[in-house]
Symmetry: C2
Subunit: 82 residues, 2 copies
């Protein structure tokens, strides 16, 4: 069955403490080359049947209203994964 992937990230202007913790760990582990880390969520929605325009529109609505908190997060991607 097809899958729709929804990507949600914290708004850029917000501090991302988890991301800061990981980039701090990079320094301790001697990992170089990465100046910042931000952490968000990846949702995989299994679609019953075909992915129609209606299903995609519903996925967008769900992404905005259920899967993300529009005050602190942005939906940065909605795509059909094969």
């Amino acid at each position: 069955m097809p899958t729709i992937v929804v990507d949600v990230m914290p708004k850029p202007e917000l501090l991302d403490p988890q991301g800061k913790a990981v980039s701090g760990a990079f320094a301790r582990l001697g990992v170089e080359g990465f100046s910042d880390v931000r952490i968000g969520k990846r949702f995989e929605l299994t679609v019953e049947g075909e992915v129609t325009d209606e299903v995609l529109a519903e996925a967008k609505r769900i992404a905005d209203e259920v899967l993300s908190n529009s005050v602190i997060e942005d939906v940065v991607g909605i795509e059909v994964a094969e």
Copy 2:
């Protein structure tokens, strides 16, 4: 500066309680058409300078060793985001 996106998901054979909670909420909210929801993490790594083969190899190493727990998670994607 370029960004490398690392996607990490729970192993398919593992129960995903958070995903189950969201798909349960779908039913209560009258959302139809989606039989399952799985939730993972999306990391955005800001790269200092150009994305070279070495940087990509380091991102892969970090994804496996730092950003994911290979016992319960799979790295399902590493890509350069424009």
